[in-house]
Amino acid sequence: MSATLTRPFDQPDAPADLDLRGHGQPLVDKTFRWILFLCLFVGIAFLAVLLAYVVIKGWPRLDSRLWTNMPSIRRPEQAGAESAITGTLWVIAFTALFSLPIGFLSAVYLEEYAKPTSRFARFVEINIQNLAAVPSIVYGILGLAIFARALALGQTVITAGLTLALLVLPVVIVATREALRAVPQNIRHGSLALGATLWQTTWRQTMPAAIPGMATGTILALSRAIGEAAPLLLLGAVTFISFNPTGPFSAYTTLPIQIYNWTKESREEFQVLAAATIVLLLVILLAMNAVAILIRNRTQKRW
Protein backbone atom coordinates (compact mmCIF):
# COMPACT_ATOMS: atom_id res chain seq x y z
CA MET A 1 0.00 0.00 0.00
CA SER A 2 2.50 2.49 1.16
CA ALA A 3 4.40 1.94 -2.05
CA THR A 4 2.36 4.44 -4.04
CA LEU A 5 2.51 6.95 -1.24
CA THR A 6 6.25 6.83 -0.98
CA ARG A 7 6.92 6.69 -4.68
CA PRO A 8 7.37 10.41 -5.15
CA PHE A 9 10.27 10.00 -2.79
CA ASP A 10 11.76 7.48 -5.13
CA GLN A 11 11.93 4.44 -2.96
CA PRO A 12 14.19 2.11 -4.87
CA ASP A 13 12.94 -1.21 -3.46
CA ALA A 14 9.26 -0.67 -4.52
CA PRO A 15 8.12 -3.09 -7.26
CA ALA A 16 8.43 -1.24 -10.50
CA ASP A 17 5.11 -2.43 -11.95
CA LEU A 18 2.90 -1.53 -8.97
CA ASP A 19 0.13 0.76 -10.09
CA LEU A 20 -2.98 1.30 -8.01
CA ARG A 21 -4.60 3.86 -10.25
CA GLY A 22 -8.04 2.94 -11.57
CA HIS A 23 -8.38 1.95 -15.20
CA GLY A 24 -11.84 3.47 -15.50
CA GLN A 25 -14.99 1.37 -15.31
CA PRO A 26 -14.88 -1.39 -17.89
CA LEU A 27 -17.33 -0.82 -20.71
CA VAL A 28 -19.43 -3.84 -19.74
CA ASP A 29 -20.01 -2.43 -16.26
CA LYS A 30 -21.01 0.93 -17.60
CA THR A 31 -23.40 -0.62 -20.12
CA PHE A 32 -24.92 -2.80 -17.44
CA ARG A 33 -25.64 0.21 -15.29
CA TRP A 34 -27.30 2.00 -18.20
CA ILE A 35 -29.44 -1.01 -19.04
CA LEU A 36 -30.67 -1.17 -15.46
CA PHE A 37 -31.51 2.50 -15.48
CA LEU A 38 -33.34 2.02 -18.76
CA CYS A 39 -35.51 -0.69 -17.15
CA LEU A 40 -36.60 1.78 -14.52
CA PHE A 41 -36.97 4.52 -17.07
CA VAL A 42 -39.40 2.50 -19.23
CA GLY A 43 -41.93 2.28 -16.42
CA ILE A 44 -41.63 5.94 -15.53
CA ALA A 45 -41.74 7.10 -19.15
CA PHE A 46 -44.82 4.96 -19.73
CA LEU A 47 -46.48 6.67 -16.79
CA ALA A 48 -45.61 10.10 -18.17
CA VAL A 49 -46.96 9.29 -21.64
CA LEU A 50 -50.15 7.83 -20.17
CA LEU A 51 -50.80 10.92 -18.06
CA ALA A 52 -50.05 13.28 -20.93
CA TYR A 53 -52.26 11.31 -23.29
CA VAL A 54 -55.35 11.27 -21.09
CA VAL A 55 -55.01 14.97 -20.28
CA ILE A 56 -54.61 15.95 -23.93
CA LYS A 57 -57.36 13.64 -25.10
CA GLY A 58 -59.77 14.61 -22.33
CA TRP A 59 -59.01 18.33 -22.41
CA PRO A 60 -62.01 19.41 -24.56
CA ARG A 61 -64.40 17.89 -22.00
CA LEU A 62 -62.63 18.92 -18.81
CA ASP A 63 -65.26 21.43 -17.74
CA SER A 64 -68.14 21.66 -15.29
CA ARG A 65 -70.40 19.50 -17.47
CA LEU A 66 -68.34 16.59 -16.23
CA TRP A 67 -69.59 16.86 -12.67
CA THR A 68 -72.96 18.60 -13.14
CA ASN A 69 -74.48 16.50 -15.91
CA MET A 70 -75.76 12.95 -15.88
CA PRO A 71 -74.37 10.24 -18.17
CA SER A 72 -76.02 9.84 -21.54
CA ILE A 73 -75.35 7.42 -24.36
CA ARG A 74 -77.16 9.45 -26.99
CA ARG A 75 -75.89 13.00 -26.57
CA PRO A 76 -72.19 12.92 -25.69
CA GLU A 77 -71.94 16.72 -25.73
CA GLN A 78 -74.47 16.84 -22.86
CA ALA A 79 -73.17 13.88 -20.91
CA GLY A 80 -71.37 14.12 -17.56
CA ALA A 81 -70.43 11.85 -14.70
CA GLU A 82 -72.43 13.28 -11.81
CA SER A 83 -74.14 10.04 -10.88
CA ALA A 84 -70.79 8.24 -11.06
CA ILE A 85 -69.22 10.74 -8.68
CA THR A 86 -72.02 10.50 -6.13
CA GLY A 87 -72.13 6.72 -6.61
CA THR A 88 -68.40 6.48 -5.90
CA LEU A 89 -68.86 8.53 -2.73
CA TRP A 90 -71.72 6.34 -1.53
CA VAL A 91 -69.92 3.08 -2.26
CA ILE A 92 -66.64 4.23 -0.69
CA ALA A 93 -68.44 5.46 2.41
CA PHE A 94 -69.83 1.98 2.95
CA THR A 95 -66.51 0.36 2.08
CA ALA A 96 -64.85 2.45 4.78
CA LEU A 97 -67.67 1.80 7.24
CA PHE A 98 -67.20 -1.98 6.97
CA SER A 99 -63.51 -2.39 6.25
CA LEU A 100 -61.95 0.07 8.69
CA PRO A 101 -63.30 -1.16 12.04
CA ILE A 102 -62.84 -4.80 11.10
CA GLY A 103 -59.39 -4.12 9.67
CA PHE A 104 -58.23 -2.15 12.70
CA LEU A 105 -59.52 -4.75 15.16
CA SER A 106 -58.00 -7.64 13.20
CA ALA A 107 -54.66 -5.86 13.16
CA VAL A 108 -54.85 -5.16 16.89
CA TYR A 109 -55.57 -8.83 17.50
CA LEU A 110 -52.66 -10.03 15.37
CA GLU A 111 -50.17 -7.42 16.57
CA GLU A 112 -51.09 -6.84 20.22
CA TYR A 113 -53.06 -9.81 21.49
CA ALA A 114 -52.10 -13.00 19.67
CA LYS A 115 -49.12 -14.88 20.99
CA PRO A 116 -46.47 -15.57 18.35
CA THR A 117 -47.08 -19.25 18.87
CA SER A 118 -50.83 -19.01 18.27
CA ARG A 119 -51.79 -21.33 15.45
CA PHE A 120 -55.01 -19.47 14.86
CA ALA A 121 -53.13 -16.19 14.39
CA ARG A 122 -50.60 -17.77 12.00
CA PHE A 123 -53.44 -19.29 9.99
CA VAL A 124 -55.23 -15.95 9.80
CA GLU A 125 -51.98 -14.33 8.70
CA ILE A 126 -51.37 -16.71 5.80
CA ASN A 127 -55.01 -16.41 4.87
CA ILE A 128 -54.72 -12.61 4.69
CA GLN A 129 -51.58 -12.87 2.55
CA ASN A 130 -53.48 -15.07 0.14
CA LEU A 131 -56.60 -12.87 0.11
CA ALA A 132 -54.42 -9.88 -0.79
CA ALA A 133 -53.52 -11.67 -4.02
CA VAL A 134 -56.91 -13.16 -4.93
CA PRO A 135 -58.06 -11.62 -8.25
CA SER A 136 -60.54 -8.82 -7.68
CA ILE A 137 -63.05 -10.39 -10.08
CA VAL A 138 -63.28 -13.35 -7.67
CA TYR A 139 -64.50 -10.94 -4.99
CA GLY A 140 -67.12 -9.95 -7.54
CA ILE A 141 -68.23 -13.59 -7.69
CA LEU A 142 -68.41 -13.66 -3.89
CA GLY A 143 -70.46 -10.47 -3.84
CA LEU A 144 -72.76 -11.74 -6.56
CA ALA A 145 -73.38 -15.15 -4.98
CA ILE A 146 -73.54 -14.14 -1.32
CA PHE A 147 -74.49 -10.48 -0.91
CA ALA A 148 -76.52 -9.85 -4.07
CA ARG A 149 -78.30 -13.18 -4.39
CA ALA A 150 -78.09 -15.29 -1.20
CA LEU A 151 -78.65 -12.36 1.17
CA ALA A 152 -80.91 -10.75 -1.45
CA LEU A 153 -79.30 -7.34 -1.09
CA GLY A 154 -79.54 -6.99 -4.85
CA GLN A 155 -77.29 -4.92 -7.04
CA THR A 156 -77.08 -2.00 -4.68
CA VAL A 157 -74.71 0.43 -3.02
CA ILE A 158 -74.51 -1.76 0.07
CA THR A 159 -73.59 -4.90 -1.90
CA ALA A 160 -70.83 -2.97 -3.64
CA GLY A 161 -69.65 -1.47 -0.33
CA LEU A 162 -69.51 -4.87 1.39
CA THR A 163 -67.70 -6.50 -1.51
CA LEU A 164 -65.08 -3.77 -1.82
CA ALA A 165 -64.68 -3.78 1.96
CA LEU A 166 -63.65 -7.45 1.86
CA LEU A 167 -61.40 -6.69 -1.11
CA VAL A 168 -59.42 -3.99 0.70
CA LEU A 169 -59.53 -5.60 4.14
CA PRO A 170 -56.07 -7.21 3.72
CA VAL A 171 -54.61 -3.82 2.76
CA VAL A 172 -56.12 -2.15 5.83
CA ILE A 173 -54.90 -4.95 8.11
CA VAL A 174 -51.36 -4.97 6.75
CA ALA A 175 -51.06 -1.16 6.93
CA THR A 176 -52.48 -1.01 10.46
CA ARG A 177 -50.16 -3.74 11.64
CA GLU A 178 -47.19 -1.84 10.30
CA ALA A 179 -48.37 1.33 12.05
CA LEU A 180 -48.79 -0.55 15.34
CA ARG A 181 -45.40 -2.20 14.98
CA ALA A 182 -43.80 1.22 14.59
CA VAL A 183 -44.97 2.25 18.07
CA PRO A 184 -42.01 1.69 20.40
CA GLN A 185 -42.34 -1.25 22.71
CA ASN A 186 -41.36 0.84 25.75
CA ILE A 187 -44.59 2.84 25.53
CA ARG A 188 -46.57 -0.37 25.93
CA HIS A 189 -44.31 -1.47 28.77
CA GLY A 190 -44.60 1.90 30.50
CA SER A 191 -48.36 1.60 30.48
CA LEU A 192 -48.49 -2.05 31.55
CA ALA A 193 -46.01 -1.38 34.36
CA LEU A 194 -48.50 1.12 35.80
CA GLY A 195 -51.08 -1.62 36.14
CA ALA A 196 -53.01 -0.83 32.96
CA THR A 197 -54.75 -3.74 31.28
CA LEU A 198 -53.82 -4.81 27.76
CA TRP A 199 -56.87 -3.11 26.28
CA GLN A 200 -56.29 0.12 28.24
CA THR A 201 -52.74 0.10 26.94
CA THR A 202 -53.83 -0.59 23.38
CA TRP A 203 -56.70 1.88 23.34
CA ARG A 204 -55.10 4.75 25.24
CA GLN A 205 -51.46 4.48 24.21
CA THR A 206 -50.66 2.19 21.30
CA MET A 207 -53.52 3.04 18.95
CA PRO A 208 -53.36 6.83 19.43
CA ALA A 209 -49.63 6.69 18.76
CA ALA A 210 -50.31 4.66 15.60
CA ILE A 211 -53.01 6.96 14.20
CA PRO A 212 -50.85 8.71 11.58
CA GLY A 213 -49.67 5.39 10.15
CA MET A 214 -53.17 3.96 10.25
CA ALA A 215 -54.54 7.04 8.48
CA THR A 216 -51.94 6.77 5.73
CA GLY A 217 -52.64 3.08 5.19
CA THR A 218 -56.37 3.62 5.28
CA ILE A 219 -56.27 6.32 2.62
CA LEU A 220 -54.21 4.09 0.34
CA ALA A 221 -56.62 1.20 0.87
CA LEU A 222 -59.64 3.34 0.04
CA SER A 223 -57.95 4.81 -3.01
CA ARG A 224 -57.52 1.26 -4.26
CA ALA A 225 -61.25 0.69 -3.74
CA ILE A 226 -62.12 3.89 -5.60
CA GLY A 227 -60.25 2.75 -8.69
CA GLU A 228 -61.59 -0.80 -8.63
CA ALA A 229 -63.98 -1.79 -11.41
CA ALA A 230 -63.86 -5.54 -12.02
CA PRO A 231 -65.95 -6.82 -9.10
CA LEU A 232 -68.57 -4.13 -9.67
CA LEU A 233 -69.12 -5.41 -13.22
CA LEU A 234 -70.80 -8.40 -11.63
CA LEU A 235 -72.71 -6.28 -9.15
CA GLY A 236 -74.93 -4.27 -11.41
CA ALA A 237 -72.92 -1.12 -11.75
CA VAL A 238 -72.86 -1.42 -15.53
CA THR A 239 -76.53 -0.74 -15.92
CA PHE A 240 -77.19 2.69 -17.29
CA ILE A 241 -77.69 4.94 -14.26
CA SER A 242 -78.62 8.59 -14.70
CA PHE A 243 -79.65 9.39 -11.16
CA ASN A 244 -77.81 9.84 -7.89
CA PRO A 245 -78.07 7.06 -5.31
CA THR A 246 -80.58 7.85 -2.60
CA GLY A 247 -79.48 5.35 0.04
CA PRO A 248 -77.75 2.06 0.71
CA PHE A 249 -80.34 0.08 -1.24
CA SER A 250 -80.20 2.28 -4.28
CA ALA A 251 -78.79 1.31 -7.67
CA TYR A 252 -75.51 3.04 -8.46
CA THR A 253 -72.64 3.48 -10.84
CA THR A 254 -69.06 4.56 -10.10
CA LEU A 255 -66.34 6.48 -11.91
CA PRO A 256 -64.28 3.49 -13.13
CA ILE A 257 -67.45 1.79 -14.32
CA GLN A 258 -68.58 4.91 -16.13
CA ILE A 259 -65.18 5.10 -17.83
CA TYR A 260 -65.55 1.48 -18.88
CA ASN A 261 -69.02 2.10 -20.28
CA TRP A 262 -67.87 5.02 -22.38
CA THR A 263 -64.83 3.09 -23.59
CA LYS A 264 -67.23 0.54 -25.07
CA GLU A 265 -69.04 3.17 -27.15
CA SER A 266 -67.71 3.53 -30.66
CA ARG A 267 -68.20 7.28 -31.12
CA GLU A 268 -65.06 9.34 -30.62
CA GLU A 269 -66.86 11.88 -28.38
CA PHE A 270 -67.33 9.17 -25.79
CA GLN A 271 -63.62 8.33 -25.85
CA VAL A 272 -62.91 11.98 -25.12
CA LEU A 273 -65.43 11.86 -22.31
CA ALA A 274 -63.79 8.70 -20.97
CA ALA A 275 -60.39 10.42 -20.99
CA ALA A 276 -61.83 13.46 -19.18
CA THR A 277 -63.39 11.19 -16.54
CA ILE A 278 -60.06 9.38 -16.18
CA VAL A 279 -58.39 12.71 -15.45
CA LEU A 280 -61.04 13.43 -12.82
CA LEU A 281 -60.51 10.00 -11.23
CA LEU A 282 -56.73 10.38 -11.25
CA VAL A 283 -56.95 13.83 -9.68
CA ILE A 284 -59.06 12.39 -6.86
CA LEU A 285 -56.58 9.55 -6.31
CA LEU A 286 -53.63 11.92 -6.50
CA ALA A 287 -55.20 14.20 -3.91
CA MET A 288 -55.77 11.25 -1.58
CA ASN A 289 -52.18 10.12 -1.98
CA ALA A 290 -50.92 13.63 -1.35
CA VAL A 291 -52.90 13.76 1.89
CA ALA A 292 -51.47 10.40 2.91
CA ILE A 293 -47.91 11.55 2.23
CA LEU A 294 -48.57 14.81 4.07
CA ILE A 295 -49.77 12.95 7.16
CA ARG A 296 -46.75 10.68 7.02
CA ASN A 297 -44.25 13.50 6.68
CA ARG A 298 -45.80 15.68 9.36
CA THR A 299 -45.72 12.98 11.96
CA GLN A 300 -42.46 11.26 11.12
CA LYS A 301 -39.82 10.83 13.80
CA ARG A 302 -41.77 11.41 16.95
CA TRP A 303 -39.68 9.06 18.98
Binding site: L47, Y109, I173
Partner: protein, 312 residues
Protein backbone atom coordinates in the same frame (compact mmCIF):
# COMPACT_ATOMS: atom_id res chain seq x y z
CA UNK B 1 -31.28 -16.16 59.63
CA UNK B 2 -34.41 -14.01 59.64
CA UNK B 3 -37.99 -15.11 59.51
CA UNK B 4 -39.13 -17.60 56.92
CA UNK B 5 -42.04 -15.61 55.53
CA UNK B 6 -42.19 -17.51 52.30
CA UNK B 7 -44.64 -20.28 51.72
CA UNK B 8 -46.18 -20.18 55.16
CA UNK B 9 -48.17 -17.11 54.18
CA UNK B 10 -50.37 -15.35 56.69
CA UNK B 11 -54.03 -16.29 56.53
CA UNK B 12 -55.23 -12.94 55.12
CA UNK B 13 -56.63 -12.52 51.65
CA UNK B 14 -54.02 -12.46 48.91
CA UNK B 15 -53.71 -8.79 47.90
CA UNK B 16 -52.30 -9.79 44.54
CA UNK B 17 -55.48 -11.54 43.51
CA UNK B 18 -57.72 -9.81 40.98
CA UNK B 19 -59.85 -7.30 42.90
CA UNK B 20 -62.72 -6.96 40.44
CA UNK B 21 -63.52 -9.24 37.55
CA UNK B 22 -62.63 -7.71 34.19
CA UNK B 23 -65.39 -8.95 31.92
CA UNK B 24 -64.70 -6.06 29.54
CA UNK B 25 -61.26 -7.40 28.71
CA UNK B 26 -62.65 -10.82 27.87
CA UNK B 27 -65.42 -9.36 25.72
CA UNK B 28 -62.91 -7.21 23.85
CA UNK B 29 -60.65 -10.17 23.21
CA UNK B 30 -63.67 -12.01 21.82
CA UNK B 31 -64.50 -9.12 19.51
CA UNK B 32 -60.91 -8.96 18.28
CA UNK B 33 -60.81 -12.68 17.52
CA UNK B 34 -64.10 -12.33 15.69
CA UNK B 35 -62.75 -9.45 13.61
CA UNK B 36 -59.68 -11.49 12.74
CA UNK B 37 -61.96 -14.35 11.77
CA UNK B 38 -63.73 -12.19 9.17
CA UNK B 39 -60.84 -12.82 6.80
CA UNK B 40 -61.30 -16.55 7.31
CA UNK B 41 -65.02 -16.18 6.61
CA UNK B 42 -64.09 -14.31 3.43
CA UNK B 43 -61.99 -17.18 2.16
CA UNK B 44 -64.70 -19.59 3.20
CA UNK B 45 -67.29 -17.43 1.43
CA UNK B 46 -65.23 -17.37 -1.75
CA UNK B 47 -64.81 -21.13 -1.73
CA UNK B 48 -68.50 -21.74 -1.06
CA UNK B 49 -69.68 -19.26 -3.66
CA UNK B 50 -67.53 -20.67 -6.45
CA UNK B 51 -67.83 -24.30 -5.43
CA UNK B 52 -71.56 -24.87 -5.10
CA UNK B 53 -72.65 -23.52 -8.52
CA UNK B 54 -69.57 -25.19 -10.02
CA UNK B 55 -70.70 -28.56 -8.69
CA UNK B 56 -74.09 -27.97 -10.29
CA UNK B 57 -72.31 -26.99 -13.48
CA UNK B 58 -70.28 -30.18 -13.51
CA UNK B 59 -73.41 -32.19 -12.93
CA UNK B 60 -74.44 -31.13 -16.43
CA UNK B 61 -71.10 -30.67 -18.18
CA UNK B 62 -68.42 -33.31 -17.74
CA UNK B 63 -64.97 -32.47 -16.44
CA UNK B 64 -63.42 -33.81 -19.61
CA UNK B 65 -65.53 -31.60 -21.85
CA UNK B 66 -64.72 -28.58 -19.68
CA UNK B 67 -60.98 -29.13 -19.44
CA UNK B 68 -60.09 -30.81 -22.71
CA UNK B 69 -62.29 -29.51 -25.52
CA UNK B 70 -61.55 -26.43 -27.53
CA UNK B 71 -64.84 -24.67 -28.17
CA UNK B 72 -66.31 -22.15 -25.75
CA UNK B 73 -69.72 -21.02 -27.04
CA UNK B 74 -72.03 -20.61 -24.05
CA UNK B 75 -74.34 -18.22 -25.92
CA UNK B 76 -75.02 -20.45 -28.91
CA UNK B 77 -78.22 -22.36 -29.30
CA UNK B 78 -76.17 -25.48 -28.86
CA UNK B 79 -73.66 -24.26 -26.25
CA UNK B 80 -70.28 -25.87 -25.79
CA UNK B 81 -68.14 -25.52 -22.70
CA UNK B 82 -64.53 -26.31 -23.52
CA UNK B 83 -62.49 -23.91 -21.41
CA UNK B 84 -59.23 -24.30 -23.33
CA UNK B 85 -59.69 -21.17 -25.48
CA UNK B 86 -60.09 -19.09 -22.33
CA UNK B 87 -57.01 -20.70 -20.80
CA UNK B 88 -55.16 -20.05 -24.05
CA UNK B 89 -56.12 -16.38 -24.00
CA UNK B 90 -55.04 -16.08 -20.38
CA UNK B 91 -51.81 -17.90 -21.19
CA UNK B 92 -50.85 -15.77 -24.21
CA UNK B 93 -51.55 -12.47 -22.49
CA UNK B 94 -49.82 -13.53 -19.28
CA UNK B 95 -46.72 -14.64 -21.20
CA UNK B 96 -46.51 -11.28 -22.97
CA UNK B 97 -46.95 -9.46 -19.66
CA UNK B 98 -44.32 -11.56 -17.96
CA UNK B 99 -41.84 -11.07 -20.80
CA UNK B 100 -42.21 -7.33 -20.25
CA UNK B 101 -42.41 -7.24 -16.48
CA UNK B 102 -39.74 -9.68 -15.36
CA UNK B 103 -36.73 -8.09 -17.05
CA UNK B 104 -37.92 -4.53 -16.46
CA UNK B 105 -39.03 -5.21 -12.88
CA UNK B 106 -35.87 -7.05 -11.95
CA UNK B 107 -33.67 -4.47 -13.67
CA UNK B 108 -35.45 -1.68 -11.82
CA UNK B 109 -35.04 -3.54 -8.53
CA UNK B 110 -31.30 -4.09 -9.04
CA UNK B 111 -30.85 -0.47 -9.99
CA UNK B 112 -32.80 0.79 -6.97
CA UNK B 113 -31.18 -1.62 -4.54
CA UNK B 114 -27.55 -1.60 -5.71
CA UNK B 115 -26.92 1.50 -7.81
CA UNK B 116 -29.26 4.39 -7.04
CA UNK B 117 -28.08 6.91 -4.45
CA UNK B 118 -30.35 7.14 -1.42
CA UNK B 119 -31.52 10.50 -2.71
CA UNK B 120 -32.37 9.22 -6.19
CA UNK B 121 -34.04 6.21 -4.66
CA UNK B 122 -36.30 8.43 -2.59
CA UNK B 123 -37.68 9.98 -5.78
CA UNK B 124 -37.58 7.06 -8.21
CA UNK B 125 -39.18 4.42 -6.03
CA UNK B 126 -42.40 6.30 -5.18
CA UNK B 127 -42.66 7.43 -8.81
CA UNK B 128 -42.52 3.83 -9.98
CA UNK B 129 -45.08 2.90 -7.37
CA UNK B 130 -47.52 5.45 -8.75
CA UNK B 131 -47.92 2.94 -11.58
CA UNK B 132 -49.34 0.46 -9.10
CA UNK B 133 -51.93 3.01 -8.01
CA UNK B 134 -53.34 3.69 -11.50
CA UNK B 135 -56.77 2.04 -11.80
CA UNK B 136 -56.73 -0.87 -14.23
CA UNK B 137 -59.62 0.57 -16.19
CA UNK B 138 -57.27 3.44 -17.08
CA UNK B 139 -54.63 1.01 -18.32
CA UNK B 140 -57.28 -0.73 -20.39
CA UNK B 141 -58.34 2.53 -21.99
CA UNK B 142 -54.71 3.42 -22.70
CA UNK B 143 -54.01 0.01 -24.24
CA UNK B 144 -57.02 0.23 -26.55
CA UNK B 145 -56.83 3.90 -27.51
CA UNK B 146 -53.10 4.60 -27.51
CA UNK B 147 -50.90 1.49 -27.58
CA UNK B 148 -52.91 -0.33 -30.24
CA UNK B 149 -53.56 2.72 -32.40
CA UNK B 150 -50.32 4.69 -32.17
CA UNK B 151 -47.69 2.08 -31.29
CA UNK B 152 -48.74 -1.32 -32.62
CA UNK B 153 -50.75 -0.42 -35.71
CA UNK B 154 -47.78 1.27 -37.43
CA UNK B 155 -45.64 -1.81 -36.77
CA UNK B 156 -48.25 -4.50 -37.46
CA UNK B 157 -50.69 -3.02 -39.99
CA UNK B 158 -53.00 -6.04 -39.89
CA UNK B 159 -53.38 -6.04 -36.09
CA UNK B 160 -56.99 -6.29 -34.89
CA UNK B 161 -58.59 -3.45 -32.91
CA UNK B 162 -58.91 -5.79 -29.96
CA UNK B 163 -55.71 -7.79 -29.57
CA UNK B 164 -53.74 -9.73 -26.98
CA UNK B 165 -50.51 -7.87 -27.59
CA UNK B 166 -51.53 -4.42 -26.38
CA UNK B 167 -53.31 -5.88 -23.35
CA UNK B 168 -50.26 -7.99 -22.50
CA UNK B 169 -47.78 -5.16 -22.94
CA UNK B 170 -49.73 -2.76 -20.75
CA UNK B 171 -50.37 -5.45 -18.17
CA UNK B 172 -46.63 -6.09 -18.09
CA UNK B 173 -45.97 -2.45 -17.29
CA UNK B 174 -48.68 -2.58 -14.65
CA UNK B 175 -46.99 -5.41 -12.73
CA UNK B 176 -43.49 -3.90 -12.85
CA UNK B 177 -43.95 -2.23 -9.43
CA UNK B 178 -45.12 -5.53 -7.88
CA UNK B 179 -42.04 -7.36 -9.11
CA UNK B 180 -39.61 -4.49 -8.51
CA UNK B 181 -40.81 -3.75 -5.00
CA UNK B 182 -40.80 -7.37 -3.76
CA UNK B 183 -37.47 -8.17 -5.45
CA UNK B 184 -35.92 -5.08 -3.93
CA UNK B 185 -37.16 -6.09 -0.47
CA UNK B 186 -35.49 -9.46 -0.95
CA UNK B 187 -32.22 -7.86 -2.09
CA UNK B 188 -32.30 -5.38 0.78
CA UNK B 189 -32.55 -8.36 3.14
CA UNK B 190 -29.26 -9.77 1.84
CA UNK B 191 -26.73 -9.08 4.59
CA UNK B 192 -24.26 -6.36 3.60
CA UNK B 193 -21.46 -8.65 4.75
CA UNK B 194 -21.99 -10.75 1.62
CA UNK B 195 -21.57 -7.69 -0.59
CA UNK B 196 -18.52 -6.53 1.35
CA UNK B 197 -17.03 -9.97 0.96
CA UNK B 198 -17.41 -9.78 -2.80
CA UNK B 199 -15.98 -6.28 -2.99
CA UNK B 200 -13.07 -7.36 -0.81
CA UNK B 201 -12.27 -9.99 -3.43
CA UNK B 202 -12.06 -7.29 -6.06
CA UNK B 203 -15.46 -7.88 -7.68
CA UNK B 204 -17.06 -5.00 -9.56
CA UNK B 205 -20.51 -3.70 -8.73
CA UNK B 206 -22.02 -5.63 -11.63
CA UNK B 207 -20.35 -8.88 -10.60
CA UNK B 208 -21.46 -8.37 -7.02
CA UNK B 209 -25.05 -7.65 -8.04
CA UNK B 210 -25.37 -10.53 -10.47
CA UNK B 211 -23.26 -13.21 -8.79
CA UNK B 212 -23.82 -12.46 -5.11
CA UNK B 213 -26.90 -10.34 -4.40
CA UNK B 214 -29.31 -11.80 -6.95
CA UNK B 215 -28.51 -15.45 -6.15
CA UNK B 216 -28.72 -14.73 -2.42
CA UNK B 217 -32.11 -13.09 -2.87
CA UNK B 218 -33.32 -15.66 -5.37
CA UNK B 219 -36.19 -17.15 -3.41
CA UNK B 220 -37.58 -13.66 -2.78
CA UNK B 221 -37.17 -12.72 -6.43
CA UNK B 222 -38.90 -15.89 -7.59
CA UNK B 223 -41.68 -15.13 -5.11
CA UNK B 224 -42.03 -11.72 -6.75
CA UNK B 225 -42.23 -13.34 -10.20
CA UNK B 226 -44.86 -15.81 -9.08
CA UNK B 227 -46.95 -13.08 -7.48
CA UNK B 228 -46.59 -10.97 -10.63
CA UNK B 229 -47.80 -13.88 -12.78
CA UNK B 230 -50.69 -14.45 -10.40
CA UNK B 231 -51.69 -10.80 -10.76
CA UNK B 232 -51.48 -11.02 -14.55
CA UNK B 233 -53.70 -14.09 -14.62
CA UNK B 234 -56.28 -12.43 -12.39
CA UNK B 235 -56.30 -9.02 -14.05
CA UNK B 236 -59.68 -8.25 -15.57
CA UNK B 237 -60.23 -4.72 -16.82
CA UNK B 238 -57.28 -4.43 -19.20
CA UNK B 239 -58.17 -7.60 -21.05
CA UNK B 240 -61.89 -6.90 -21.02
CA UNK B 241 -61.35 -3.50 -22.63
CA UNK B 242 -58.37 -4.11 -24.91
CA UNK B 243 -58.27 -7.81 -25.83
CA UNK B 244 -61.83 -8.28 -26.96
CA UNK B 245 -64.43 -10.76 -25.87
CA UNK B 246 -64.05 -13.43 -28.53
CA UNK B 247 -62.84 -16.86 -27.32
CA UNK B 248 -59.99 -17.67 -29.66
CA UNK B 249 -57.87 -20.81 -29.64
CA UNK B 250 -54.75 -19.19 -31.07
CA UNK B 251 -51.23 -18.19 -30.19
CA UNK B 252 -51.29 -15.15 -32.47
CA UNK B 253 -51.04 -12.10 -30.21
CA UNK B 254 -52.24 -9.77 -32.96
CA UNK B 255 -55.73 -11.24 -32.68
CA UNK B 256 -58.37 -10.60 -30.07
CA UNK B 257 -58.96 -13.25 -27.43
CA UNK B 258 -60.96 -13.86 -24.29
CA UNK B 259 -59.46 -14.80 -20.95
CA UNK B 260 -60.98 -16.48 -17.93
CA UNK B 261 -61.40 -13.14 -16.20
CA UNK B 262 -62.91 -11.32 -19.14
CA UNK B 263 -65.38 -14.14 -19.66
CA UNK B 264 -66.50 -13.85 -16.04
CA UNK B 265 -66.78 -10.07 -16.39
CA UNK B 266 -68.69 -10.21 -19.65
CA UNK B 267 -71.07 -13.00 -18.68
CA UNK B 268 -71.53 -11.69 -15.15
CA UNK B 269 -72.33 -8.14 -16.17
CA UNK B 270 -75.12 -9.25 -18.46
CA UNK B 271 -78.46 -10.12 -16.97
CA UNK B 272 -77.92 -13.84 -16.63
CA UNK B 273 -80.83 -15.72 -15.05
CA UNK B 274 -79.83 -17.41 -11.78
CA UNK B 275 -79.69 -21.16 -12.11
CA UNK B 276 -79.13 -21.26 -15.86
CA UNK B 277 -76.17 -23.24 -17.08
CA UNK B 278 -74.62 -20.03 -18.38
CA UNK B 279 -74.85 -18.49 -14.89
CA UNK B 280 -73.16 -21.55 -13.41
CA UNK B 281 -70.43 -21.44 -16.03
CA UNK B 282 -69.30 -18.11 -14.54
CA UNK B 283 -68.58 -19.91 -11.29
CA UNK B 284 -66.91 -22.89 -12.94
CA UNK B 285 -64.46 -20.57 -14.66
CA UNK B 286 -64.15 -18.64 -11.39
CA UNK B 287 -63.28 -21.86 -9.57
CA UNK B 288 -60.55 -22.64 -12.08
CA UNK B 289 -59.18 -19.10 -11.78
CA UNK B 290 -59.25 -19.23 -7.99
CA UNK B 291 -57.44 -22.57 -7.88
CA UNK B 292 -54.69 -21.41 -10.26
CA UNK B 293 -54.05 -18.14 -8.44
CA UNK B 294 -54.35 -19.79 -5.02
CA UNK B 295 -51.61 -22.28 -5.86
CA UNK B 296 -49.36 -19.51 -7.15
CA UNK B 297 -49.99 -17.31 -4.10
CA UNK B 298 -49.12 -20.16 -1.77
CA UNK B 299 -45.88 -20.83 -3.64
CA UNK B 300 -45.03 -17.15 -3.40
CA UNK B 301 -45.85 -16.96 0.34
CA UNK B 302 -43.68 -20.01 0.98
CA UNK B 303 -40.75 -18.56 -0.92
CA UNK B 304 -40.95 -15.25 0.91
CA UNK B 305 -40.92 -17.10 4.23
CA UNK B 306 -37.87 -18.98 3.12
CA UNK B 307 -35.75 -15.91 2.51
CA UNK B 308 -37.04 -14.17 5.64
CA UNK B 309 -36.00 -17.18 7.69
CA UNK B 310 -32.64 -17.31 5.97
CA UNK B 311 -31.71 -13.73 6.82
CA UNK B 312 -33.42 -12.99 10.11
Amino acid sequence: MTTATASSAPGGLNPLRQTKPRYGEAVIRGILVLAAAVSLFTTFGIVISVLIPSLEFFAEISFTEFLFTTTWTPLFANPQYGVLPLLMGTFVITVIAVLVAIPLGLGSAIYLSEYASPKARKVLKPTLEVLAGIPTVVFGFFALEFITVYVLKPIFPDIQVFNALSAGLVMGIMIIPTIASLSEDAMAAVPSGLRDGAYALGATKRQTALRVVVPAALSGIVAAFVLGVSRAIGETMIVTIAAGLQPNMTLNPLQGMQTMTSYIAAAGSGDVPTGSIEYKSIFAVGLLLFIITFVMNMISIRLVRKYRQAYQ
